[in-house]
Amino acid sequence: MCSFDYQTIMSISIYGSSVVLMLLGLYAVLVKKNLIKIVIGLSIVDSGLHLLFVAVGYLHNGTAPIFSPEAVDKVNQMVDPVPQALVLTAIVIGFATTAVALSLVIRLYKHHKTARIDQIKSLKW
């Protein structure tokens, strides 16, 4: 039996929650019929991915990568800044895709009078 120290519990909870978020979002995308719920699923996948990115860049007992007056000499404790910059980009792109997807949903709803994909006849072949 392996011993559960602080490190293991943290890694299981944070990696686990990001994987669970991604899988939940994927489930919503694949199973749900309502288009709004599918868009929500896509943005849940996004959130899980962002959490995973930031968690991979974390350093044990790390501080934020900001050279504020109190932390000027703490270079060795700073967490990886690259994933944080990448996540900043990814959040903005996620917002843009969500906005465009929602506008398409509004357009489909107006055209077919329903937002459920199983009731839109032209989507079946």
Partner: protein, 246 residues
């Protein structure tokens, strides 16, 4: 049947994700000592202060080292706004529609009036101090857009001038690109930062052109997000469609 298939797929995917993450120990030092400069992250941590005099390393990466990427990012945001407007187009002769069906309560209206300037000031603070504290242009722009969202929800007749938004967005974008091009002319690379006095670390005026670029990004993001919210909230609600749905 399909649901079981999906659950099986998810379990398999989750198993392999966990298996892969097992080789990425949480909180371990993967970038080496910053002084060695063996990885990109160590280089950034070591060189940001001497090269740019910016306290926030993430800001230095986003605006300076990967500034071209950020230019592409705000372009994607601009394209999303344009795409949204062209998908949800409205003819000019269609009458102005009311945004919310019921007028909001006096509490919300008064509270929005009080809170709106404070929210905007907080957003401006966040993007002006983007090189010193957590936050920056994108975050401050998003905060300002939430202030406008509050006003749009509270007041049915709240009017946003689209030409004003377009002007703010365009001027901010032109400022960003022209700072980049000026760096290309004087320093030889796009967004070269050394032509501007660096200033001292941890003071408001530090980091050369980085705060100016982030302020431009803040204005641009605020205008774009406000435009998106305004377009989405002012789409006409078809009465016939909502009746069929029920």
């Amino acid at each position: 049947m399909k649901r079981f298939l999906v659950i099986f797929l998810m379990l398999a995917l989750g198993f392999y994700l966990i298996q892969a993450l097992h080789f990425v120990p949480f909180g371990a030092n993967r970038m080496g000592a910053p002084a060695d400069k063996k990885t990109v992250a160590a280089f950034y941590l070591n060189e940001t202060v001497p090269q740019t005099a910016v306290a926030n390393v993430v800001t230095a990466i986003v605006v300076n080292y990967r500034g071209f990427d950020t230019l592409g990012e705000v372009t994607v945001l601009f394209l999303a706004t344009t795409g949204l407007a062209s998908i949800l187009y409205k003819r000019r002769d269609e009458e102005e529609t009311e945004r919310v069906s019921k007028p909001s309560s006096t509490i919300l209206q008064t509270g929005a009036k009080v809170l709106f300037p404070l929210v905007v000031i907080l957003g401006v603070y966040v993007f002006v101090h983007g090189h010193l504290t957590p936050g920056g242009g994108f975050q401050g722009g998003a905060i300002i857009a939430t202030g406008f969202l509050l006003m749009l929800i509270a007041y049915q007749k709240y009017h946003l001038s689209h030409s004003m938004l377009t002007w703010v967005e365009s001027l901010a974008g032109i400022l960003f690109v022209s700072i980049g091009l000026w760096g290309l002319i004087t320093g030889g690379t796009f967004l070269e930062n050394s032509w501007f006095p660096k200033g001292t670390l941890n003071s408001l005026i530090s980091g050369g052109a980085i705060p100016i670029i982030y302020i431009a990004v803040g204005f641009k993001v605020a205008a774009e997000l406000t435009g998106v919210l305004d377009i989405l909230l002012s789409t006409k609600d078809d009465k016939s469609a909502s009746n069929i749905q029920q």
